[in-house]
């Protein structure tokens, strides 16, 4: 345990040293040192700007993420269960999967106005096809032999869902949650940049116009750290618990 922590610490220190060295060599406001970036983060926290914009973006992230996961799981499982339905919607799915994120964002804003609802809708349309495909494959991979066993021994619907189906879908859900979080927060920033007047994306836009690289890096750093925290504090422990049976 202590050895893995040592390696992680060493790795982070090495990265920071490289960054500092590069900043020293470049000696330009376009490449600030880590210390400078952190000092801007602290300044922005004290002024209340960073917590406010971070909060707004996180709220959008959570709503977009939850709705995408729920919707995608429901549709994905239905498609996995029903071959006719799957064949019918397959081409739709491919279409939605391949529409560039930027196009859905622009169209949502054009059609539904520069509102919170269209912002979140754009996020969902971008993420849902991924969840659907992952969960569809997960459903197809469900072990029919175990389902037969559950039927013979009269598990009933609820027990079958909880003890037979859920554990088999869990890896797919975790997979799409992970990739979803990564994808969604990147899309949200573009959504905010294009049509919202708050959030991290808006702030990045602002600092870009000012050509303030330190500000851009400060906001990115804060957000990356938060997303990492979600991974460490929520996803990882949940995953460890769910897969405790694995050797």
């Amino acid at each position: 345990m202590s050895k893995t922590i040592m390696i992680s610490l060493l790795s982070i220190t090495a990265l920071l040293s490289l960054w500092t060295l590069a900043a020293l060599v470049a000696h330009s406001p376009l490449l600030p040192s880590p210390i400078k970036v952190v000092s801007v983060v602290i300044r922005e926290i004290e002024s209340g700007q960073l917590p406010y914009h971070l909060g707004v973006t996180l709220r959008r992230l959570m709503i977009g993420f939850s709705l995408s996961m729920i919707l995608g799981t429901l549709v994905g499982v239905s498609l996995g269960c029903n071959e006719a339905l799957n064949r019918f919607f397959d081409s739709w799915l491919i279409l939605f999967l391949n529409i560039p994120a930027l196009v859905t964002i622009i169209l949502c804003y054009v059609w539904f106005g520069l509102t919170e609802v269209s912002a979140i809708l754009a996020v969902i349309i971008n993420k849902v096809p991924n969840v659907i495909i992952t969960l569809r494959e997960g459903t197809k991979a469900i072990d029919l032999e175990l389902l037969e066993m559950a039927k013979v021994f009269r598990f009933g619907r609820l027990k079958t869902l909880r003890h037979v189906i859920w554990p088999q879908l869990a890896p797919y859900l975790f997979g799409s949650a992970r990739s979803g979080l990564g994808l969604i927060w990147k899309i949200i920033l573009v959504v905010e940049l294009l049509g919202r007047s708050n959030g991290i994306g808006y702030q990045l836009h602002l600092y870009f116009q000012l050509f303030d690289v330190t500000g851009i890096l400060a906001y990115s750093l804060a957000f990356v750290l938060i997303v990492q925290m979600i991974e460490w504090l929520i996803l990882k422990p949940l995953e460890t618990h769910t897969f405790r049976w694995r050797r």
């Binding site: 032999e145 037969e148 013979v152 049976w245 694995r246 050797r247």
Partner: protein
């Protein structure tokens, strides 16, 4: 007299390549009286597992009918020892068994079963830690634990080394002697069938029909290796055409 009656006029599997269908079972009629230990023997691939799946209610797509007598409001309780143990890998041995039991199960009997099969120390273990023999024994606890009206077994000793298979065969017989459920036991091993059953059903190769129905008169405690070998010889010489099925 309680019994299970099954009459399959025909069971066919569709063939995707030719969009036709092939008969797996044809004109198979069988009555299993309560408490009988019936062994079904037949060449591999002849439709034995299909027969069990129909009896288990897993396959309802066949032409014919099945009846449990006397018929009652509550459907008969069926349990199944599959060829693979089919334990949920993400639940401990104990959880696996408990999930399968009815609400008002007999705790003492389950404890007793765990003791008898020698898994008392392993109930909190996940199935991946068990050897195949142990998993098979756990699935026996599950099958006997529900106190079934009909117990189906599908070659439950296949791919075990001979000493382990022998031990588990003895175990099945002991558990059955304690509580003689109605059993339908499928195997391709005639030796095994004679050791366990009190009735032998020979199936033809696909489509499966009953070729011969034989009551085994040998007392169970006299079924040693030699006696069984002699018995098989007698069957071979007395029943014409049986040899090519074995």
């Amino acid at each position: 007299m309680n019994s299970v009656i099954i009459d399959i006029k025909s069971k066919r599997y569709p063939n995707r390549m030719t969009s036709s269908s092939a008969a797996v079972i044809e004109d198979l009629k069988l009555e299993i009286p309560k408490g009988a230990f019936v062994c079904v023997v037949g060449p591999s691939g002849c439709g034995k597992t299909t027969l069990l799946n129909i009896l288990a209610g897993l396959d309802e797509d066949f032409d014919g009918y099945m009846e449990h007598k006397p018929s009652s409001e509550t459907p008969p309780r069926i349990s199944y020892v599959f060829q693979n143990p089919r334990l949920l890998p993400w639940r401990t041995v104990e959880e696996n068994i408990q999930l399968s039991l009815p609400e008002n199960f007999d705790t003492d009997y389950i404890d007793h079963l765990f003791e008898r099969v020698g898994l008392k120390e392993s109930i909190h273990v996940y199935p991946q830690r068990l050897s195949l023999g142990m998993s098979r024994r756990a699935s026996l606890v599950r099958a006997f634990g529900v106190n079934p009206d009909l117990l189906l077994m599908d070659e439950p000793f296949v791919s075990l080394d001979p000493p382990t298979a022998r031990r588990i065969r003895k175990l099945v017989l002991d558990l059955w002697t304690e509580r003689p459920h109605t059993v339908l036991f499928v195997t391709h091993d005639l030796r095994e069938a004679i050791e366990l059953g009190d009735r032998l059903i020979f199936l033809s190769s696909s489509p499966a029909r009953i070729v011969y129905d034989l009551a085994i008169e040998l007392p169970r405690d006299e079924r040693g290796d030699d006696t069984i070998a002699q018995y098989i010889e007698r069957i071979r010489s007395n029943i014409p055409g049986i040899a090519e099925l074995l």
